[in-house]
């Protein structure tokens, strides 16, 4: 990646802080061990710690609904009182660094009124695709549509860096769900075996949920005690219920940022669950998530044309 982009990014962040447009910039930094980490900057002089390279996989939009990060007067939908009381105009205003895929999750948050866009400065970065630590392009980048390589102008406040028009080794996505169709084509017992093998490994660490930019519920259904919908004890049956419900709650919302799958310590191919849902939503309800901040989730809508072959 061009180092010029990093310098420009650092300057942009410093400017935003100096001019008091925002009082927090969420971006990427580097740990002393050399790992990319989320970075939270409040002082202009810290902006030089901002990084941007092909290991910047995290979807930082996740932190926009985390009250312990953005504070009570942050970009969240509530606490307008705290907001009004604050004399500091920058207080609670946040800038966030996003890639094209991350931006889609922000679009969903907007459509669900979870962020106050006017308090948020979105810094888009054209992305040539990100890689794992072994240098392999992430699977999500392989299915990234070219229009998402560059953050959509109208949705960002600022774009830093030259647009990416090369595929960067990425296969150009044909919009198919081939890997899902392969599973669909299996016998029921084979599918059961396939998924149960993965589910038996699940530790119920909830990293997939907690890392997800769209899992912002104040009280998650899995944390409810009464009724207890799914036992918190890991086990194939309880884990299957957990994964079904998790994916279901993201129906028509998941933008395939791939964070859940990346975070999963035991290698459960969570995108293959999310994309199955996306496939159904696309084919049956003709909807794609993350494109339109005004759009409503397909599950709060219906159409008289909805398929009902399965209904007697």
């Amino acid at each position: 990646m061009v180092t010029g982009t990093i310098a420009a990014l650092q300057k942009t962040a410093a400017d935003l802080l100096v001019k008091k447009t925002v009082d927090l910039v969420i971006g990427y930094g580097q740990s002393p061990l050399g790992d990319i980490v989320p970075l939270f900057i409040r002082k202009a002089e810290e902006a030089e710690r901002l990084q941007w390279n092909r290991h910047c996989t995290y979807n930082l939009v996740r932190y926009l609904t985390d009250r312990e990060v953005i504070g009570p007067a942050g970009v969240g939908p509530e606490d307008r009182k705290a907001d009004a009381q604050s004399k500091d105009t920058a207080a609670g205003k946040v800038a966030v660094v996003v890639k094209g895929c991350d931006l889609k999750s922000l679009v969903v948050l907007q459509s669900e009124s979870q962020v106050r866009r006017d308090r948020l400065t979105v810094i888009g970065l054209p992305c040539p695709g990100v890689t794992d630590k072994g240098g392999r392009l992430l699977a999500k980048c392989e299915s990234c549509p070219p229009e998402a390589y560059n953050p959509r102008e109208g949705l960002c406040d600022l774009v830093v860096g030259a647009p990416v028009d090369e595929t960067g080794g990425r296969p150009v996505r044909d919009g198919s769900f081939q890997e899902i169709e392969e599973i669909d084509a299996l016998e029921a017992t084979e599918r059961r075996e396939l998924w149960d093998r993965y589910f038996s490994r699940c530790l119920r660490c909830y990293a997939c949920r907690n890392v997800c930019p769209l899992c912002y519920c104040k009280e998650c259904v899995f944390d409810q005690h009464d009724p207890r919908w799914v036992s918190p004890a890991a086990g194939v049956a309880t884990n299957r219920a957990f994964h079904l419900i998790r994916a279901y709650h993201l129906a028509g919302r998941c933008v395939d940022c791939g964070e859940c799958e990346r975070a999963c310590p035991v290698g459960i191919p969570l995108r293959r669950i999310n994309r199955k849902v996306a496939k159904v939503v696309e084919e049956s309800f003709h909807f794609q998530a993350g494109l339109d901040p005004e759009a409503k989730s397909p599950l709060v809508l219906f159409s008289s044309e909805d398929p009902e072959e399965f209904i007697e």
């Binding site: 740990s31 002393p32 061990l33 050399g34 790992d35 990319i36 980490v37 989320p38 939270f40 995290y58 996740r62 932190y63 312990e68 990060v69 630590k133 072994g134 490994r201 530790l203 119920r204 660490c205 909830y206 990293a207 949920r209 907690n210 890392v211 944390d223 005690h225 207890r228 036992s231 918190p232 004890a233 890991a234 086990g235 309880t238 964070e259 990346r262 975070a263 310590p265 035991v266 290698g267």
Partner: protein, 348 residues
Amino acid sequence: MRIVEQKVLAKLVQCCLADSEIIAPVESEGRLYFQLLDPEQGLVELVWPEVGDSAPPEDPLTVNSIKEFFFPRRQELYEQRPEGIIPRTAPIEQKRLLLFARPCETRALTILDRVFLGETQDDFYKSARQNTTVVGLHCLRPDRYCFCTSLGGGPFGTEGMDLSLTPIAGERFLVTPVSEKGEALLASLSGQEAGEAEQKALEILRNNAEAAIRRRIQLPEPKTMAEYFTSEYWKEVSRACIACGICSYLCPTCHCFDIVDEGYLRLRCWDTCSSDTFTRMAAGEDHRKQKHTRYRQRIYHKFSYFKENFDTHSCVGCGRCTRHCPVKIDIVEIVNGIGGLAAGGGKP
């Protein structure tokens, strides 16, 4: 110490399959996991350690630690039916062989022992410990996350093992008994007694491995820890934390759990202090509502409270928590940071 060929060891393991459960590293989609070997499949799945520089795995350690074979993540206790109580899990009577456990993890067993075999003994844990023979494997290629040497362990440590293996060239192992159980096992392994040359080779391997571990955790004085308890520092360092349970669940020494009901079945399952439901009481009170207080609890429990109660830190430096953290929160960096603050005269 004896030089044993891999095929001799393999034969022994094969024999054990008949009457024992074998727990060993198994590969799945590029990651290693400790698993019970499928007796039908035999040793096919078993991943043997590699020697030399040829294709080291990305992580030297398995994803999961061996703790789940002593303290299962889901343990059915009993059924409490209106008509009475029906026990579900009996202590382990089956002999078990745990293969290729790394020194950090076997050492972690000795730490868990202090909890589960202390004043009140956990009979399941006890039986699992008694019936398991631990065959440890020395680390030749620690990675950049390892820091066992600054916590009293080392890549050639033997604490918690019955038998230790050091892989050497030519698909052979240097085998050293550590306990009586290990002696007994070694008796059934034929091989040449190691001589001075092997002793020397072992020394070199050990020195190299120890030198490869560059990370050092610098534990602050208890007094310093106490002073910084209320510091804003904890908010800073835990900001990126997503409060998942990866660090606790992969940790070989974390032992917190929950007791829950599934219908009439009561069971024990892992739980984590990072979860916001961990200390929430029925009526909603919670003395650790904020994320940083929960992260702080994890650090203080490991490096202050546990030490005070059990005279050891509840950390062996395996590095799993950082290696697998989705946002790479670094426990070493954070602990060292307290000392750094104190040295710099930072305000507690």
